[in-house]
């Protein structure tokens, strides 16, 4: 589950969920046994991007290149049987409310022997 939230600049808009909501949600995931790992990420202002060009030259810039309204705020890896189960958990996340969204993506399985 990738938690996409509004960039800090418009964080004051809408009814934001509280810190307690997140604590509760995290505890529910852990108690149910589906939670594998995950982290919240620091604010976008702390972001630095690295690109290596075709000539091997390294470019370091401040922030993400693309100007987007929503940024990745954190992620949780959960172990559930199918998409419906994952969507149920995603819908319970405080990160799915107040104009933010939670994206659900499977972890790619690399075939054995490759």
């Amino acid at each position: 589950m990738l938690l996409y939230m509004s960039a800090a600049t418009d964080a004051e808009a809408g009814d934001q969920c509280t810190f307690e909501d997140w604590i509760r949600y995290e505890r529910e995931m852990k108690d149910s046994g589906i939670w594998v790992s995950g982290h919240p990420l620091q604010d976008l202002t702390t972001c630095t991007s690295v690109r290596v060009g075709a000539d091997g030259e390294r470019t370091i810039t401040d922030g993400p290149f693309v100007e987007t309204r929503e940024v990745l705020g954190g992620y949780d890896i959960i172990d559930v049987p199918d998409l419906d189960a994952a969507l149920k958990w995603a819908a319970r996340s405080p990160g799915a409310t107040g104009g933010a969204s939670v994206q659900v993506r499977p972890i790619a399985e690399i075939p054995v022997g490759v």
Binding site: P81, D82, L83, P106, P111, V112
Partner: protein
């Protein structure tokens, strides 16, 4: 000899038509892989085409096909290591889930089609692909036939189906019937997928007519299956009723040269009254026992049209009241447009026109030819011919199909003096 072969052939066709979706659903349930299920279903049908003409159709053809297909699937899985790993996981999951069902051959083909309906119409799939998947996997149409149904090139449709199948597999869209808590949220996508098949068939006054008729019939057939599988769901009854009550007018909807004949001018003796009776009975089911849904309400409106001896004696107050209800469920400008037309029938064209003027600024109606066309008809009835002609011209600039264009041109000619 030849006659006998043909008789076996046609009964075999009927068996395939009836059993294909069930077979596929059962195999997806067992092996969790749409591609594999599709391939072994085809192989089992091919095997039947070889064996049945010589040995006769078995007493339980569905069970025969299932056994054959399962054997092929297991053979393939043994050969394919990647799939075999997946199967091992699936079997472990199945064992955890509970005891396996009794042995194959002794059971008739279990009906897993409902789960397949929900897989094909899962909200995680693009809305435009849900009807296509339903036609492909539940109605058993070939990719080429599905492409023709949705008016896209076969290669495009093939790509869309491959992409959708890959998403079902890789995103782990489950093959299951949603629980009672999720059903209200998920059933509308299934009904919408079936209804999109119907509207593709119904809206086509152009194109090869026969194929399009097949589509409306296929949608009705799918809705009947859903109705059998979900007998307690009012909206399933409502959808089936709506399609029956609409399709009942098919023969009268076009004239001898394929031109559009509007409701006002249709020869009502040409309506299919058996379909109307069936639809009306289903409307009662759709409207009772709980809060009716949008399909039930639309079916009720269609029933009021179908019950009336002519346009004048239609129960317009009731039609307007039902549109009021529908508008609260589906706040769309198209519904508001239809409501305005019904108000015009109840209270006169001025009243309808006033409502239409209120919708003039809705951007969602821009580009919708029925807005100026409806307006033009009301102006014509008021004798405001110049304004009517202008509105018919606006509609002509937007109309898509030839028969509708011809109809608008005829109407334009009736109000334009030159």
């Amino acid at each position: 000899m030849r006659g006998e072969g043909a008789a076996v052939g046609s009964s075999v066709e009927a068996v395939f038509r009836e059993e294909r979706g069930r077979l596929l659903a059962s195999l997806v349930h067992r092996f969790g892989d749409l591609d594999l299920a599709e391939e072994v279903t085809s192989e089992a049908i091919e095997a039947a085409l070889v064996h049945w003409p010589a040995e006769g159709v078995p007493s339980r053809p569905g069970a025969w096909l299932l056994t054959t297909a399962r054997r092929r699937a297991v053979d393939r899985l043994r050969r394919d290591r990647v799939l075999a790993t997946r199967l091992a996981v699936l079997q472990a999951e199945a064992e955890r889930a509970g005891p396996a069902p009794p042995a194959d051959a002794d059971r008739d083909l279990p009906d897993d089609r409902l789960a397949l309906f929900f897989t094909c119409a899962h909200p995680a799939l693009p809305a435009q692909d849900r009807g296509a998947l339903t036609l492909r996997f539940l109605a058993g149409l070939t990719t080429t036939e599905v492409a023709r149904a949705f008016l896209v090139p076969p290669t495009t449709m093939a790509q869309r189906l491959v992409r959708a199948k890959r998403k079902i597999r890789d995103a782990r869209i489950p093959f299951r019937v949603p629980g009672a808590d999720e059903l209200p949220e998920r059933l509308p996508t299934v009904l919408q997928a079936v209804y999109s098949i119907f509207t593709e068939g119904y809206a086509a006054s152009s194109g090869p007519d026969l194929q399009r008729t097949d589509l409306t019939e296929e949608a009705i057939r799918l809705a009947r299956i859903l109705r059998r599988l979900l007998p307690g769901e009012q909206e399933v009854a409502g959808l089936l009723a709506l399609m029956l009550l609409t399709d009942a007018r098919r023969a009268a909807r076009t004239g001898p040269d394929g031109e559009v004949v509007l409701l006002d001018d249709q020869d009502r003796t040409r309506w299919d009254h058996a379909m109307i009776d069936e639809g009306r009975a289903l409307v009662l089911v759709a409207l009772t026992g709980g809060q009716p849904g949008p399909y039930g309400v639309q079916a009720a409106i269609a029933a009021l049209h179908d019950e009336a001896a002519d346009v004048a004696s239609t129960d317009w107050p009731q039609v307007v009241a039902l549109y009021d209800v529908l508008l609260t469920m589906v706040p769309s400008p198209v519904v508001a447009l239809n409501r305005a037309a019904a108000v015009a029938m109840r209270d006169g064209p001025e009243a309808g026109l006033a409502l239409l003027d209120g919708l003039a600024d809705d951007p969602r109606l821009r580009g919708y030819h029925l807005y100026p066309a409806t307006r033009a008809d009301l102006l014509r009835r008021l004798g405001r011919d110049d304004e009517a002609a202008a509105s018919y011209r606006s509609a002509l600039a937007l109309v898509g199909t030839e028969p509708e264009r011809a109809h608008l041109l005829r109407r334009l000619a009736s109000v334009a003096d030159d």
